[in-house]
């Protein structure tokens, strides 16, 4: 009973963290970008205000199939929120006993698929181009994450999330080369996972006008934007969960602050890279992912021999 209560409490905590902190990170991103670009930039709370403004706007139904469009917006948001329950934030994941890594991969892919749905349902030329790009990117990018998790599960000899996410590069029997390799792969792919420059091909405002999202406005757009912010929060959290050893001080509050600080550093790195790069073309992007994929496979092979 007590376990259930704790799980419930930390579930609420994790959801609240994603909902409340993700826009703050986004605001931070905008502020840092502004500084890099010699601008003043919006206040750090701007992203909250943007979301609120979009949420109270009239919900305009345009595009081919409005029901599908509404569904895809809700699907992307709920899929990404479900992920929040599977990832440790300061303490172990709230639903660690209830779900495994396969579910995590499914949910993250589902968030991507909902973007495909959104583009398909809108039916404009630009959203279809964006959709086909998203599909190409997904097919080459998602396996990287899967392999990263599988490498960990090979070491942990389990598919349970708590077992996988507790591992670090040098735990167990010294330095694990496969994990060092996969750390590199995921680090190089992080920019792509969160859809930031130079990998924002699916939205590419100056080419295909936000791609799948071109027909969206108001609350639906707010949900997609929220999803994007949450993605940044969750992928950085997952990165920390996979590779950064947890410093357990025993106090939840301290652990949480340490965790958020680690995240902030990652967000900062992502932001600076995004601000200093031009967008790659989709073929260049896919080639880059393919190269990372080869390294990821190598890491998997190593992991099998190491365990």
């Amino acid at each position: 009973m007590k376990g259930l209560l704790t799980a419930f409490f930390f579930s609420i905590m994790n959801l609240a963290l994603v909902l409340l902190i993700a826009p703050l990170f986004d605001g931070m991103t905008r502020k840092v970008t502004a500084v890099v670009q010699s601008r003043k930039g919006p206040p750090i709370t701007q992203s909250y205000m943007d979301l609120m403004k979009l949420l109270i706007k009239e919900d305009i139904e345009v595009g081919d199939s409005p029901v599908m469009q509404r569904f895809s917006a809700l699907l992307s948001f709920s899929a990404i929120l479900s992920v929040a329950l599977l990832i440790p934030m300061g303490t172990s994941a709230p639903l660690s006993g209830y779900a495994d890594s396969i579910l995590l991969i499914y949910l993250l892919t589902l968030a991507g698929i909902s973007i495909l749905l959104a583009g398909l349902a809108a039916g404009s030329t630009y959203s279809l181009v964006g959709m086909s790009r998203e599909m190409m990117a997904m097919m080459t990018l998602e396996p990287l994450l899967a392999i990263a998790i599988i490498v960990s599960s090979v070491h942990a000899d389990s598919l349970r999330l708590d077992a996988i996410l507790g591992e670090a590069v040098y735990t167990g029997s010294g330095l694990l080369w496969s994990r060092v390799l996969i750390l590199g792969v995921v680090a190089f792919a992080l920019q792509a996972f969160v859809g930031r420059m130079p990998f924002d091909v699916t939205e590419a405002e100056t080419e295909i006008m936000e791609g799948p999202l071109v027909e969206y406005s108001g609350p639906k757009l707010a949900l997609f934007k929220y999803t994007r912010m949450a993605k940044m929060f969750l992928y950085t959290a997952l990165f920390i969960g996979l590779f950064v050893p947890r410093i357990a001080t025993g106090y939840y509050a301290t652990d949480l602050v340490v965790f958020l600080a680690e995240q902030a550093v990652l967000v900062l790195i992502v932001t600076v890279i995004a601000a200093t790069h031009a967008r790659y073309r989709i073929d260049q992007v896919v080639r880059y992912y393919a190269m990372l994929f080869v390294f990821a496979l190598l890491a998997l092979l190593l992991a099998v021999f190491e365990s």
Partner: protein
């Protein structure tokens, strides 16, 4: 070699076809020919003598000579001669042989001639409507003298749509425009896309015509037109006002004062500075590199302040008059310009250092939007686009005007012909501009900035003028007239030529490269759109008479005060 030598050369071999030749100046040549020999002679100029095609002009000369007149302007860049090939066309059935089947660069000029003046180029390979809106009735030609500047046709049919060509089999149509975040101005490219690859495109532009040429030859006066010319373009406005003034000065043999020539050069280079900085920023933005975009605009800002200090305005300098300029550059201003130039040079070096080794930008721009030398020649592509393809042309050096023959600078060329080369050319040209302004400030003589009034200008004289705008050569053709205004004034902005090369540049490229390929010519749609005398309100066609306009603006003014 001057215009005499070129004339002799033509005369030697093809003399029989020339009915008359005038040499108004050592670097101008007017050749009158019979329509039958137009085609042969144009090809000889363009291919054998390697002249560059400038523009074709259709003119309603019925009130004066009884005929229509067609003029094709050519430039001899090595010899510093601008040549006008002049052909009459009968008033009853205005037809001339087409030259665009062998000189592709003349295609738009011939189509525009047909739309606006009603002169048919027989055998034109793509005789579709170019300038007039879709619903405009056939057989009505707004630039004819018997149509007033504020005429609106009763029979305008706004249900009519443009007959686009069928897409090639296996391709889908992706509309690029009329509104697109990277265009900033309305313009429609119908792309035929196969997967991610562009297989072809059709262009439909000219959506924001403002009747500038018609206004000039029916409403404005000589010294008002520079202010109008400036409004052709929001970026290179000063270029157009200088080009216009020079065309009239050349026609009427007026010499601007030496100090005015230096001031013109300085302002033209200031304009180039801000234009190139703007372009580098926009190109970076198209590639998604917003940091370079912002930094480039930050560096550009002091240039705008400088312009404001000199002329009172960030843009639209209201600088030029026939025979001089309106603003002087004082010693204090000169000192300030030097300071700002030092700062820009320093910061722009930083930009160049950052860009020149950037593999990320290279990955997106090398081998993209390639224009080879043949394409440049065939379509008379201009400015940085031509120079990035290894064509060593620059009007400032080849046809010196203002004070450019008194300063030294390099013409920057690259060999790649792709977007990357255009980026490099433009970035390096900024340093040359800085060099030119410094020399101008050094060498500028004292004296008046405006020539003595010349009295009434003689009518019926032809003047041509070329100025190197930031985007390439701007070319104006003017015929002086009665009532203190020109009979005809034809503007050819560089984008008019460069846009014609775009379909070949983007063919078989990826869709993602379309925007930067188009952006790399620094397109200026408002520059190509100059004529429209139509007012559409609430879907109905309605004519605002001049009184109504005056009344409504007066009402607004009253409300404001």
């Amino acid at each position: 070699m001057g215009s005499h030598d070129i004339l002799n050369k033509i005369r030697e071999n093809y003399g029989t076809s020339i009915t008359r030749a005038d040499i108004p100046a050592d670097n101008r040549l007017l050749v009158f020919v019979h329509p039958d020999s137009l085609k042969v002679l144009a090809n000889i100029l363009f291919r054998d003598l390697d002249a560059r095609y400038c523009v074709g002009i259709g003119m309603d000369d019925r009130p004066y000579s009884g005929d229509f007149i067609v003029v094709h302007d050519f430039a001899f860049d090595k010899e510093n001669v601008l040549l006008s090939l002049i052909v009459p066309a009968s008033a009853s059935d205005p037809r001339v042989p087409c030259i665009s089947d062998t000189i592709p660069a003349a295609n738009w000029s011939e189509r525009e001639m047909r739309d606006l003046v009603g002169i048919t180029a027989e055998g034109c390979p793509n005789p579709k409507r170019l300038v007039l809106p879709d619903g405009w009735p056939e057989g009505l030609h707004p630039l004819r003298k018997d149509i007033s500047w504020n005429y609106v046709p009763e029979s305008f049919d706004d249900t009519k749509t443009y007959p686009f060509d069928d897409p090639p089999p296996g391709t889908t149509v992706v509309p690029f425009g009329p509104f697109h975040p990277t265009l900033d101005e309305p313009s429609h490219f119908r792309l035929y896309v196969e997967g991610e690859f562009v297989r072809g495109c059709e262009y439909r532009g000219f959506m924001v015509h403002r009747g500038i040429e018609k206004l000039a030859d029916s409403v404005m006066t000589y010294n008002e037109i520079p202010m109008l010319a400036e409004r052709i373009c929001g970026i290179c406005g000063c270029v157009h006002s200088v080009t216009y003034a020079q065309a009239i000065e050349q026609a009427a043999a007026i010499k601007p004062t030496p100090r005015a020539e230096f001031i013109r050069s300085i302002m033209l280079e200031i304009e180039r500075l801000h234009s190139h900085a703007l372009w580098v920023g926009l190109a970076a933005h198209i590639l998604g590199f917003d940091t370079l975009f912002m930094q480039s605009f930050r560096i550009r800002e002091p240039v705008m302040w400088l312009a404001e200090k000199i002329t009172g305005n960030r843009k639209t300098y209201a600088l030029c008059l026939i025979g001089g300029v309106r603003w002087d550059i004082t010693a204090e201003l000169g000192a300030e310009i030097k300071e700002v130039l030092d700062q820009i040079e320093r910061e722009w070096k930083g930009v160049f250092d950052a860009v020149k080794g950037d593999r990320n930008i290279m990955a997106r721009s090398k081998g993209v939007g390639v224009a080879d030398k043949k394409l440049v020649k065939d379509f008379s592509l201009l400015g940085p686009v031509a120079r990035a393809s290894g064509m060593n042309i620059d009007v400032r050096r080849d046809h010196p005007y203002a004070a450019y023959d008194k300063v030294e600078f390099n013409v920057i060329t690259q060999e790649g012909g792709d977007v990357w080369s255009r980026i490099v050319v433009r970035i390096l040209e900024v340093f040359e501009s800085i060099k030119i302004i410094r020399q101008c400030l050094e060498k500028m003589p004292q004296g008046p900035i405006q020539a003595e009034p010349a009295g009434e200008l003689p009518a019926g004289r032809i003047g041509t003028s070329s100025v190197e705008a930031p985007r390439g050569e701007a070319h104006h053709f003017a015929v002086t007239g009665e009532g203190n205004r020109p009979r005809r004034w034809r503007v050819r902005a560089p984008t008019y030529q460069n846009l014609q090369g775009i379909p070949a540049m983007i063919k078989d490229q990826r869709l993602a490269d379309m925007t930067i390929s188009l952006g790399s010519i620094d397109p200026c749609f408002s520059c190509t759109d100059r004529l429209e005398i139509l007012d559409l309100r609430t879907g109905e066609i309605r004519l605002w008479s001049q009184e109504e306009l005056v009344r409504s603006t007066a009402k607004i003014r009253r409300r404001r005060s």
